[in-house]
C-alpha cells in the first residue's frame, strides 16, 4: 500500500473517525459520505468511542503473504457501541479467553510493515476492555 494511501486512511486508522447522518442520526464507519440507512448525504465527522463487543472471532494460521511473520494472529468482527461493525485484529489477549459478546476497546498498534525498507502502518486493533 502506497504512502499516500496509508496517509489518506489516518483519521480512520488512528481515531476511528466515521460520520454522523444529520438526517436519520445513524453512526457510520467507515465514512462513505452517503448514509447506508437512509441514503441521505452524511458528511459530519464522528469520532467513535472505540468501545464495542466481539460479534465473531478467529485465529489465522495461514495468512496472506504480507502477514506471514505475524501468524498466528487473532481477528474479530467488533460491534462498536455506536452501532456499526468493524473488522480488526485482536491484541493483548489469550486465544482461550476470547468469546462472542466479550467487551473490547480500541488500541493503536502496528498493523503491518511493508518489508525491511517499506513504511510501517499503524492503526486500530482491539483488546479486552479495561485491561
Amino acid at each position: 500500500m502506497s504512502v499516500a494511501r496509508n496517509w489518506r486512511l489516518q483519521q480512520q486508522r488512528y481515531r476511528l473517525t466515521g460520520e454522523r447522518c444529520d438526517t436519520c442520526g445513524a453512526a457510520i464507519f467507515p465514512p462513505r459520505d452517503v448514509c447506508p440507512e437512509c441514503e441521505a448525504p452524511a458528511k459530519t465527522p464522528l469520532v467513535f468511542s472505540g468501545r464495542g463487543e466481539i460479534y465473531s472471532y478467529s485465529t489465522v494460521y495461514h495468512p496472506p503473504a504480507e502477514f506471514e511473520t505475524a501468524a498466528p494472529y487473532m481477528v474479530a468482527l467488533v460491534r462498536l457501541e455506536e452501532g456499526p461493525m468493524v473488522a480488526a485484529q485482536l491484541t493483548d489477549v489469550d486465544k482461550g479467553s476470547v468469546s462472542i459478546g466479550m467487551p473490547v476497546e480500541m488500541v493503536t498498534r502496528k498493523i503491518r510493515a511493508e518489508g525491511d525498507e517499506g513504511i510501517i502502518a499503524y492503526g486500530y486493533k482491539f483488546r479486552p476492555a479495561g485491561i
Binding site: 447506508p36 465473531s56 503473504a65 473488522a87 480488526a88 485484529q89 498493523i111
Partner: protein, 385 residues
C-alpha cells in the same frame, strides 16, 4: 428479449497444470465448447477471470484469448466480479444474445493460480475483500468465512464437525467426474483431524485453489437444435450485490446478494426452489454452502447445515448439490468456477453426468458468489424436451 440456449460445453481438468499456461487452458476449453456446438466462428467472446493480473502478470485477456483461439478480430473482453467472474461472463454473454446484439457467443472462464506460492495466491484472492478495511488488517477470505462460521455455530448451536457433510458429499460426487481435481473419498475422521487454516475453519473445509478453464457457447433457442441435439435453455440469469465488507452488511449471516439474485432468477424462470432438481452452489467453504442454501430458499435460516446432516444434499436427496464435486472437490480455479458450474449443469441436463447423474434432471440452478458474499450470480438452466 430472445430465449437463449447453451449449445456447446468444454472444460479442462482442474488441477495443478505445471505444463499448461493460462492462454492454452482457455484455448482448450474454448475449442472443446466450439467443437461441441459445431461452430467455427463466434460473434463475441467473454472471458471470465479474476487474478490474471495479480498472479500471471497478464491482463487484456479478451484480445489475448481471442487471438490464440484463432478468433483474431472478434469482439472480446475480460469480465471480473471476484470469485463470480466466470458467472459474470456468462451473464454478459446471455445479455448479448438475449438482447439480439450477438447471435453466437462464446464464454470462457479461466484461472491460473498454481504458479504463485500459496501465501501470494491467498493475498491475491483477498483482493475480493475490502482492501482498506479487511485485507489491510490481515483478514483473508478464509478468515472472513471463519468469522461467519464461528458466529453461525454460536447462533444456531452447531459444532465445526457438523460442517463435514458438505466436503464429504463433494468428494464422493467428484469420484464420478474425470475433470475433477480430487478423486479421493473424504472420511469424516480426516475432515475432523485436518489442520486449522483459520479457526474453526480447517484445510478440508475449504475449496482448493487450482488451474482450469471451462467454456460454453450460447445461441438463440430457435437456432439451438441445428447446432446441438441436446440444447439447454437459460431460463434465468440474474445478478445481486451487497456490501463488499462483511462488517458493512445488514446481517452477516444472511447473504442478501444471493437472496436478491435467486429471487430475480425464480421470478424470471417462473419457478420455485421446489421445482429445482439440483443446485450447483458456491461451496468455497461449508459455511458458504449453508448460507447459500438458506438465502436461496432451500433451507430456513440456521437449517442449511441441518439439511446436509440429514443427507438431503446427496444425489438422491431433496436438494442434490455439488453433483460433480463442487468447488470443494472439482477444485476452485476462481474466475473459471462459474462457467464450470454451468458446464456441469448442462452435463446433468443432457444426462451425461455418469455416476453422478441426478435421475431425470430437468431444471438445474447454479449460483456463483464473489468474495465473502458481495456478488451472487444465479442461473437456472432447463432441458429442452
Amino acid at each position: 428479449m430472445r430465449d437463449v440456449a447453451i449449445v456447446g460445453i468444454g472444460q479442462t481438468k482442474v488441477g495443478e497444470h505445471w505444463d499448461i499456461g493460462l492462454r492454452h487452458l482457455a484455448l482448450e476449453a474454448l475449442q472443446g465448447a466450439m467443437a461441441d456446438a459445431g461452430v467455427e466462428r463466434v460473434d463475441a467472446l467473454y472471458v471470465g477471470n479474476m487474478l490474471s493480473g495479480a498472479l500471471v502478470g497478464q491482463e487484456h485477456l479478451g484480445a489475448l484469448v481471442a487471438d490464440f483461439a484463432g478468433l483474431r478480430g472478434v469482439e472480446a473482453v475480460k469480465v471480473e466480479a471476484a470469485c463470480a467472474s466466470g458467472a459474470a461472463a456468462l451473464r454478459l454473454g446471455y445479455v448479448a444474445v438475449a438482447g439480439g446484439l450477438s447471435n453466437v457467443v462464446a464464454v470462457v472462464g479461466v484461472e491460473k493460480m498454481t504458479d504463485a506460492p500459496g501465501p501470494e495466491a491467498t493475498s491475491a484472492a483477498a483482493m475480493a475483500c475490502d482492501a482498506d478495511y479487511e485485507a489491510a488488517h490481515g483478514l483473508s477470505l478464509a478468515a472472513l468465512h471463519a468469522l461467519l462460521m464461528q458466529r453461525y455455530m454460536r447462533e444456531y448451536g452447531y459444532t465445526k464437525e457438523n460442517f463435514a457433510p458438505f466436503a464429504i458429499n463433494a468428494h464422493a460426487n467428484a469420484m464420478n467426474n474425470p475433470y475433477a481435481m480430487f478423486h479421493l473419498a473424504l472420511k469424516e475422521s480426516t475432515y475432523n483431524r485436518a489442520r486449522m487454516v483459520a479457526d474453526p475453519l480447517n484445510l478440508m473445509d475449504g475449496a482448493p485453489i487450482a488451474d482450469g478453464a471451462a467454456a460454453v457457447v450460447l445461441a438463440p433457442v430457435e437456432w439451438a437444435r441445428q447446432l446441438n441435439p441436446a440444447p439447454v435453455r437459460v431460463a434465468a440469469s440474474a445478478v445481486g450485490t451487497d456490501a463488499v465488507a462483511v462488517h458493512d452488511r445488514r446481517d452477516p449471516l444472511l447473504l442478501d446478494a444471493a437472496l436478491l439474485s435467486s429471487g430475480r432468477a425464480y421470478r424470471q424462470a417462473g419457478v420455485a426452489p421446489d421445482d429445482i432438481d439440483f443446485f450447483e452452489l458456491h461451496d468455497a467453504f461449508g459455511i458458504m454452502a449453508a448460507l447459500s442454501l438458506e438465502a436461496t430458499g432451500f433451507a430456513e435460516r440456521g437449517k442449511g447445515v441441518r439439511l446436509a446432516l440429514d443427507g438431503e444434499i446427496a444425489l438422491r436427496g431433496r436438494v442434490p448439490i455439488s453433483t460433480l464435486g463442487g468447488l470443494k472437490a472439482r477444485g476452485h480455479p476462481v474466475g473459471a468456477t462459474g462457467v464450470y458450474q454451468a458446464v456441469e449443469a448442462v452435463q446433468q441436463l443432457r444426462g451425461q453426468a455418469g455416476g453422478s447423474q441426478v435421475p431425470n434432471a430437468r431444471l438445474g440452478m447454479t449460483q456463483s458468489i464473489g468474495g465473502s458474499g458481495a456478488t451472487a450470480i444465479t442461473h437456472i438452466l432447463e432441458r429442452i424436451v
